[in-house]
Symmetry: C2
Subunit: 247 residues, 2 copies
DNA sequence: CTTTATGGTTGACTTGGATCAAGCTTACAC
DNA sequence: GTGTAAGCTTGATCCAAGTCAACCATAAAG
């Protein structure tokens, strides 16, 4: 499906709806901290919108890089594939988060980004982002913070994969999702998983059976209620306690 | 030990030696791709040098961030600690590589950086780096590439921790070190490990005994010769082959 | 030189999570 | 509706890596 083409009499409304300055995610996304005038300059840059169906790739490993992407709605995974077919999911991204930072390094994307539900993204041409951030200090600094935050997040994943047991990994995963849904105004205690057990397993360095069994165990112990992809967190403290218990 | 204080008659020599423009690591480090004039502007910024003894911290998790650091000589590890004492080594860094990018996000460092041998670093005040990269496009772009490269590296570590077996992890680790030593003009086949088996294990998500046993197995199979921290790689192809064999 | 501490190796045994396998649930295509 | 495929759950078994323990190597301190 193509982005809606505006008829002449509706252009202004459509433009307003597309702009960063009117996006309700702006405090989570790249515009964070910008003034009104600065925001308007960013609007010029973020002109391209694109809708993706569930299962569609936003980009694939190896393709030339020229833009980063802000998620306007929907849910994505990024993954890296080894030659022998093994997959590592490197992250799950939701509204307001940026995709594509991996491509700056070599000017080619180094992972795949796949929509896990129907989604909408804003493309931000990278060379234009660099020019603009040479002019707008706040934008420059915020962009640096976003990249750095990604590095810090990655360290957290390394910690998880390197030192935690299956229960701890899954508890950390659920608490992280919960916290991010909350930041977006959704319930912290109830949500639908957009990814399969296999994708969760790949992200957490576990097999899908282990993910499934661990969910069941959490349910037996009253920490959560699971029904396929529907999760209710019943005992946040319990999940947190799981994580600081032994190595 | 303090950095050498120059007497008046030796200042110019000392300054020349300290400058990026005369640093033999410049093609591996931040100055990559800069013109002579641009390099000289970077020199003004990278004024502070610091020596660290083996075991000394360059920074600690939690301390305010104000500079990133280029390694001029030596060897570092970065690690993250969990409250219960578990450690995850997030990387090993050598000459020409940057440390401290994790601190930009929250304006506080989020990991520890420790010298694994006597080392020397150049401190680059971050706000001045941002100003200068608003003026020098090449510097800005290269800095973005360096941050992005770190993200890509982290994805590689996730792949390693999430999907590889002990043998594959250790082979990947040795090949990575070898390749980085080569890029610095050292032998690709013979080097001293600066870190303990425990630190290797922490980085690779293995226990020190497993690291030790896997080294021994590699030796039995003729891939390497190990004597404590001294490593000779005898069969690069063999190590590479280990990695693409099954999941 | 000897002592001591830190780090490395190796062996015996255990275990958490993988593997293999069967059956179940849900959603969608026809 | 019914059939089918994809995804999830659960059980039985296995094995790679962890744990526990003893001993060895090297380097620094006295």
């Amino acid at each position: 499906m193509m982005p809606p083409q505006s008829a002449t009499n509706t252009i202004s409304l459509s433009v307003i709806k597309t702009a960063c300055s009117n996006c309700n995610l702006r405090e989570l996304c790249l515009p964070f901290g910008l003034s009104i005038e600065e925001l308007e300059r960013l609007d010029d840059l973020v002109s391209t919108r694109r809708r993706l169906k569930r299962g569609e790739h936003l980009y694939r490993s190896g393709v030339p890089f020229d833009a980063i992407y802000a998620i306007r709605s929907g849910f994505f995974k990024t993954d890296v594939l080894l030659e022998d077919g093994r997959e590592q999911v490197t992250g799950f991204q939701m509204a307001g988060e940026l995709l594509g930072l991996d491509g700056i390094s070599t000017e080619h994307h180094t992972c795949n980004a796949v929509a896990l539900e129907d989604s909408e993204i804003c493309a931000i041409p990278f060379s234009r982002l660099e020019s603009l951030s040479r002019e707008i200090h706040t934008l420059q600094h915020h962009f640096h913070k976003v990249m750095s935050r990604e590095i810090v997040r990655d360290h957290g994943v390394m910690m998880l994969l390197g030192t935690m047991r299956a229960e701890e990994r899954l508890a950390a995963f659920l608490l992280n999702l919960s916290q991010r849904f909350t930041a977006r105004g959704f319930s912290h205690a109830e949500f639908y998983l957009r990814m399969t057990r296999e994708e969760i397993g790949s992200y957490l360095g576990l097999k899908l059976e282990t993910v499934s069994r661990t969910f069941s165990r959490f349910q037996e112990e009253g920490f959560i209620a699971v029904q396929q992809k529907h999760i209710r967190i019943l005992n946040v403290a319990g999940l947190k306690a799981l994580m600081n218990h032994r190595g």
